[in-house]
């Protein structure tokens, strides 16, 4: 059922996403085949032709330090920290770029190599401004670690004594301190190659080289989508999220304020890493206790509104299909595209504004929750919404931008006051002296309660699709998802393939229309025998492939529903998650999320009792009804690529 997405590749791959020609050698093993003997520091290993020295050394357990290298990015070979001696070569060679294509003898730690590495570190330190104590990345900084590893005890080539750049904090999400930049260009490769946004690029030459934006404009004024992937890959403190820790402490310390926090699914799978735990251990219920100890008045589960999103967005999809197929309304835009990822939403606003009608009008779970806290929750508990400070814990830097969108104030107040990242919360809890991994577990607070497995898997790519399918399939067929997919695990939409594709054929026997949407769709006869087509993409580079295919009228233009997450891996790889990141780390976080899903008694959004209750008590005109439209749906801004 899964199609590896061959068709969209007929669209010519843009130059920016091809590995630069100078790196093509790493693709040689397939072409040539065979293995080659390499001797590294006296140890022998056989490697496929084209393996880099760095990879071969790693196999042998030999550590070669790196800085500009990153497992998610194409090779650059610019920092020169990984240089090694190759027998027969006049100069040192960068281990990260050098492909082994002939028998080779390498020395990774000669006097010359050590001196060169030490010089490179000393040079980088000489252009690096600021000290470690006051840096957001202290103890999580690759430059600091290298300085320690190579025994830097003094600044051999001096130290920068004054700033050359102002701290650039125009963006709601990303703060740039270019005086801490070591020009490894990981952010550039992230922005251009990994995400295909292309906001950051090296500008200037020689000693004037700097990472800049178009015409060096503030980040807020260019086509940045706030995904924060650059932050995740920055080795130093040059890029960081806009920090709200102090404002939140202030609110907590103010007795007049009622401070609530909603926590998204991905941070619970990542926050352990800020305490030094190995990736993949979820601390969901420990975090509830910790947040209360830190002073939050209530701790809610964003999964509640994830489930609500499924009902609203699923209903919207059913309505679009019904209006297109039965009412033959030509204005219906299909495929419907998800809207939970604010990085993706800003991407489409900039790069494909003509497709905004395809984006689901349902707000993201964060913003649905924000709107409900200052209306439903405030009413129910007799709290003046102006006294509520609504915080959201997100794996995401784009959520900071999203909660500041002017349209996100349907409660009459700013729906979500602060979006904090997993990294920021890790710091807050440490400031509060809380030993997160070892505190007792506790539940989420009512009235929203716990959630379903469907809400939890929103954190991984394919999760929203799986959650939506669990509900939509049951709605239409009247069958149980378990009858179609073992344990209701819709495996074809899981995993890290860049683009996933799935078709589901609706049987000729359909079920009754569930009560909750009966007033919208009279029956399912129109869906009998239909083949519904779905796709999933994560990372905006993959989203771009899908959008280009849709533009060209390819197979994705025939899809009915497409999930897009702005970040590679989905939210578990979000720009607000702990640093470092790598495919392995994201896979471990995803495993944590799927095992939580499996442990839930209720695993389908439409079976969430709290969701059903809110439609009885508050959103009484049902999904996509008047009230939900007012509070839970929104509109978008066609921004385009023009930079003023």
């Amino acid at each position: 059922m899964v199609d590896k997405n061959e068709d969209p590749l007929t669209v010519r791959t843009p130059r920016s996403m091809q590995a630069p020609a100078g790196q093509a050698a790493t693709a040689m093993p397939d072409a040539i085949g065979g293995t080659i003997r390499a001797v590294i520091d006296g140890q022998t290993i056989k490697v496929p032709v084209g393996t880099t020295i760095l990879e071969a050394a790693k196999e042998l357990g030999i550590r070669i330090p790196t800085l500009c290298h990153h497992p998610d990015l194409c090779i650059a070979g610019v920092c020169r920290i990984c240089t090694v001696e190759v027998e027969g070569q006049r100069t040192l060679q960068a281990a990260c770029t050098y492909p082994i294509t002939a028998p080779i003898k390498v020395s990774t730690s000669t006097r010359t190599v050590r001196q060169a590495r030490r010089h490179v570190i000393d040079l980088l330190l000489s252009r690096h401004y600021g000290e470690c104590y006051s840096c957001a990345r202290s103890n999580n900084c690759e430059l600091q670690a290298l300085a320690k590893e190579y025994g830097v005890e003094f600044f051999r080539f001096g130290q920068k004594e004054h700033r050359d750049h102002e701290i650039e904090d125009s963006s709601y999400s990303v703060v740039r301190d270019m005086d801490k930049c070591v020009l490894c260009r990981r952010c550039v490769r992230t922005c251009i190659d990994l995400q295909e946004v292309g906001v950051l690029e090296a500008i200037g030459r020689g000693d004037q080289t700097a990472i800049g934006t178009f015409m060096n404009k503030p980040l807020a004024d260019v086509v940045c989508i706030n995904c924060g992937q650059c932050i995740n890959r920055c080795p130093t403190g040059a890029l960081r999220e806009k920090d709200h820790i102090e404002e939140i402490w202030e609110a907590i310390d103010d007795p007049a304020k009622h401070v609530v926090i909603q926590t998204a699914p991905s941070p619970r799978a990542g926050i352990g890493e800020t305490y030094g735990l190995a990736p993949g251990r979820a601390l969901t219920f420990e975090m509830n206790t910790a947040l209360r100890r830190a002073g939050f008045d209530k701790v809610f589960d964003t999964n509640f509104t994830a489930d609500l999103t499924i009902i609203e967005e699923g209903t919207e999809l059913i309505l679009r299909l019904y209006n297109a197929l039965v009412k033959k309304d030509p204005k219906v835009a299909l495929p419907q595209l998800t809207s939970c990822s604010p990085g993706w939403v800003k991407f489409i606003e900039h790069f494909y504004p003509e497709y905004l009608p395809n984006v689901s009008s349902a707000k993201s779970p964060q913003q649905m929750f924000g709107a409900l806290i200052k209306t439903f929750y405030a009413e129910k508990n007799g709290i003046d919404p102006k006294d509520i400070v609504s915080v959201s814990l997100m794996p995401c830097t784009a959520k900071k931008f999203e909660c500041n969108r002017p349209e996100m104030a349907d409660s009459g107040y700013k729906d979500v006051d602060f979006g904090v990242t997993t990294r920021e919360l890790g710091k807050m809890l440490q400031q509060a002296g809380i030993d997160l991994p070892n505190v007792p577990k506790s539940e989420f607070d009512d009235p929203f309660g716990g959630a379903t497995g469907s809400g939890v898997i929103f954190g991984a790519t394919g999760g929203v699709m799986e959650a939506a399918l669990r509900s939509v399939v049951e709605f239409i067929t009247g069958l149980k998802v378990e009858d179609l997919y073992e344990h209701a695990d819709i495996v074809p939409v899981r995993g890290f393939d860049g683009v996933k594709y799935l078709e589901i054929k609706i049987p000729d026997a359909v079920g009754p229309v569930p009560d909750i949407i009966k007033h919208l769709v009279p029956d399912w006869n129109w869906a009998k025998g239909a083949t519904l087509k779905f796709a999933v993409a994560h990372g905006t580079a993959n989203a771009k492939k899908i959008m280009e295919d849709i533009k060209a009228g390819g197979k994705f233009s025939e899809c009915h529903f497409i999930e897009v997450m702005g970040c590679p891996g989905g939210c578990i790889g979000g720009g607000g998650q702990p640093i470092p990141t790598s495919p392995e780390i994201r896979a471990a976080r995803a495993r944590a999320i799927y095992s939580e899903d499996a442990a839930y008694a209720i695993r389908k959004s439409h079976e969430n009792p709290a969701v059903l209750k809110i439609y009885e008590e508050f959103l009484t005109d049902g999904p996509c009804g008047h009230k939900s439209h007012h509070l839970l749906h929104t509109h978008y801004t066609a921004r385009g690529k023009y930079i003023a």
Partner: protein, 407 residues
Amino acid sequence: MTAAHGNPSGGPSGKPTGGLTFATVDSEAGLKVALSGPRPDIVMKLRESGLRGRGGAGFPTAVKWTLAAAARGEQKFVVCNADEGEPGTFKDRVILNEFPDLVFAGMTIGGRAIGAREGILYLRAEYTYMRDALEAVLERRRKAGLLGANAGGLAGFEFDIRIQMGAGAYVCGEETALIESLEGQRGEPRNRPPFPVDTGFMGLPSIVNNVETLAWVACIMAKGPEWFKAVGTDKSTGLKLFSVSGDCARPGVYEFPLGITVAKLLEAVGGSDAKAVQVGGASGHCLPRSEFTRALAFEDISTGGSIIVFGQSRDMLEVARNFLEFFVEESCGQCTPCRDGSVKLLEGVELLEEGECSTAYLRELKGLSKTMQLASKCGLGQSAPNAFLSIVEHFQGEILGRSAAGI
């Protein structure tokens, strides 16, 4: 034919050139020979001639072309590197001004040798004024059937040449940076391997050759390898053009056999009382009088042809500063040793000027220079400290012990 004595040619002022061998060779004779024989004959002849790259690196042209000829690719390219940016070089300008047909014939021969249909002349931005004339030459060659379909009258051989302008970056003289620039990218060197012969312009096999190299190719085809290697040394065959400037009586473009000593060259240009000579431009070496016996050849002191003469009154520290300022500005900014190392060396020169540089720190800077030579990504960074190192080595007495007052 030997040219034991240099032939003064068009100097920086662009005076007409006489006496260069290029003036005596029929540009189309070589092309005719190359197109009339079997393809492999071309590289065979080049191998026999011993021709090595005239841009300065001295890579054997036949090897480069053989690799590109053997490489697989839907398309291949002949690129002429006319980004003559090395301080003190101007011989390519003279060649392009006066013997463009030789260069274009050489490119066409290259196209035949490796199986390319397209040639690109990458012309440095500062030579924009030459573009119209060069385009006219190309147009004339097209009309004469020397370019285009059945080029040179060879049925089925299609080859044309276009001109693409550089944008003023020195580093684009480095062949992989040049290719990046050709592709519309920021001009920055690529990682090597793979090399352009295999993965060049648009990821396809490409040869990148200096203007002068291509002109010699046309001459070798016309007159034969034996004629070419009759002069020069075993490892550095043939004649070479030198751009001579600085403190000498007769600056200009000269032609000498490779292997000529610095002293002999100085004699010919009227610079025998020089204090030092910078061979190879900013990226080359600074030779004191004691080294004037050295030979200008790939096996001794290699050069792309830039000879800058420093008279007795020159301040060598100022010379070092001048070259380092150049590299601080012209490093592409990509790799750490070159970008930041050049800055530290320049700061070191400033300390020396003020008499504030300790011998210990000077030793540290020499070590850093070695790191730059070994660990930089491309030839620019690897050669950026050369001038500094040779001046520090050979003129230690002059540069140490200055006071802030400059005494």
